[in-house]
Amino acid sequence: MRRALFLPALWRWVPVWQRNFAVWYKLFKPAMLGNIVEPLLYLLALGYGLGSFMSSDMAGVPYLHYLASGMACASAMNTASFEGMYSAYTRMIMQGTWVGMMTTPLSLRDVVIGEIIWAGSKGLISTAAILLIATLMGLVADARALWVLPLAWIVGICFGAMAVVITAVAKNYDFFLYYVTLLITPMMLLSGVFFPVDGMPQLLQIGAKCLPLYHAIGLIRPLMLGQHNSDVILHLGVIGGYIALAVPLAIRLVGRRLLT
């Protein structure tokens, strides 16, 4: 018997992930620089700049601490979303990378899952960079904050999967502006990254609570600030629910696009 030329089912996404990792690793240094410098600037400008105008703490902690934990979440969202949109679209349409993979034993499902897990991994990388900065700046309470890493990966997978759904129906790069403007930016501003949700009008609060970033912050912020974690099941459930919906939908829509 000749050797089987394909991987067992559970591992087929791995070469897709590795391909993307290998490309990222080639530009590791400038990529990490971006991952570190940008949040650092935000923390310095907003945290010290804006924070110094605040007479009291934000939700019981100094504003800088509050902001760092919010940005750790927002960064996972932004990075995973952009990887799942612009970069994935380039590979899917412009470079024909996905169809190239699909002429090997990999199937469309393997490719899409590999891409989504990769987008999640990029989310994790960016959150890890912020966690590192925050730790060095003394903004992290204790070692419990290490739990942030697997959570950021899951949050990244969630936003990566949602992004690939959009990518599957995108006609061109401009299409992503709708998603960014209508969903990502509002989430960024209204889910509690920069200020607590409690102060907002009721309707906006409900909206924020229906979207995953709010729940990502609900999980990650207490871990970084050394506070008590509440509603863990609810937060994980909402994020898991989005993953459970978005992944099969992404596979289906990409299939409709590529398996014509």
């Binding site: 391909r19 290998a22 080639k26 169809v99 034993p105 398996l259």
Partner: protein, 308 residues
């Protein structure tokens, strides 16, 4: 009777886009070790047929097995034994030449020292050993095509699917690809190729099918098709079309068939006729006397009109 050794069996394959049949009742039996050509004008349905072989396009109806695997149900197992050179290059621009091969090998679950040896061999085979670490965008069109061919061989496939492997290449690059394809055939691989170059099909293919509007019009060996469909001798007369056409009046053998395309007149004859040449010389016309080729068959069967 011929021994049936078919690696690809397609029966009554159909596919429509927007209600338009683009693959229409295609039957194909491709034998192990042969080089089979799919010829047809632009939009004839060649690429769609090949995509069906790979399970990338689902047939509307019909049945298809490759190496005994029903497609699309068990396409993964089939694809593990197939190498593909797609019509449009999709080499990975983020990687160097060797990295492209290594990455592609990983999609088959192949890694380690065996792959490195294979990559070295394939780069020699494709005459790219001096480009091992070159980025893709520094390669010429011919080099890219050769690399794509090398990539298609990474899993040592039994079947090679080549969609227009030499389109856009210069004569040197094309000859080199032909040479390599012959070597692969000698190693026992089954080759399925599409091409718009009739002399390429005539040289490489044991058998071929001519497709138009999604239907197979004819299939057989190149020689058999020429014998079956066209007069063996052709005189092409160039220049003043009206003048050339006037040749037709009475001075040609009765069996001759005339086609006029712009300023050129094609005279198809069942026997050589020295009178025709003599007459052309007398009238001071430029002309070419030659044997009929696959191109004549192709144009006769698919017409001379432009597609799309």
């Amino acid at each position: 009777m011929q021994v049936d050794n078919a690696v690809i069996r397609a029966q009554a394959l159909c596919k429509s886009y927007q209600g338009q049949r683009v693959v229409d009742n295609i039957d194909l039996m491709i034998q192990a070790g042969e080089c089979f050509g799919l010829l047809g004008p632009n939009g004839a349905g060649k690429t769609t047929t090949l995509r069906m072989f790979l399970g990338l396009t689902l047939p509307e109806s019909g049945s298809l097995t490759i190496l005994g695997h029903p497609i699309p149900a068990v396409a993964r197992e089939a694809r593990a034994r197939i190498g593909v050179v797609p019509q449009l290059d999709n080499l990975d621009p983020d990687f160097t030449v060797a990295e492209n091969l290594r990455t592609y090998a990983s999609y088959f679950g192949l890694r380690g020292a065996a792959v490195e040896t294979r990559i070295t061999q394939l780069l020699v085979f494709a005459n790219l050993q001096h480009k091992t670490d070159a980025p893709i965008d520094t390669l010429s069109g011919g080099m890219k095509r050769r690399l794509t061919l090398a990539r298609a061989l990474i899993n040592d496939p039994q079947i090679l699917i080549l969609d227009e492997p030499t389109t856009g290449l210069d004569p040197q690059a094309r000859q080199m690809i032909w040479q390599r394809l012959r070597e692969l055939k000698q190693q026992g691989k089954t080759l399925i190729l599409t091409t718009h170059y009739m002399e390429e099909a005539q040289r490489l293919c044991d058998r071929l099918a001519i497709i138009d509007h999604g239907r197979i019009i004819t299939q057989g060996s190149p020689d058999a098709l020429i014998q079956q469909h066209i007069e063996p001798y052709v005189v092409e007369v160039y220049g003043n079309g009206v003048q050339a056409a006037s040749l037709a009046d009475g001075s040609l053998p009765r069996s001759a068939r005339i086609e006029q395309v712009g300023e050129t007149v094609f005279i198809y004859m069942s026997q050589e006729d020295p009178n025709v040449m003599a007459m052309c010389q007398r009238e001071n016309l430029r002309f070419l006397h030659r044997r009929a080729t696959l191109e004549d068959v192709f144009l006769k069967l698919t017409g001379r009109d432009l597609r799309e």
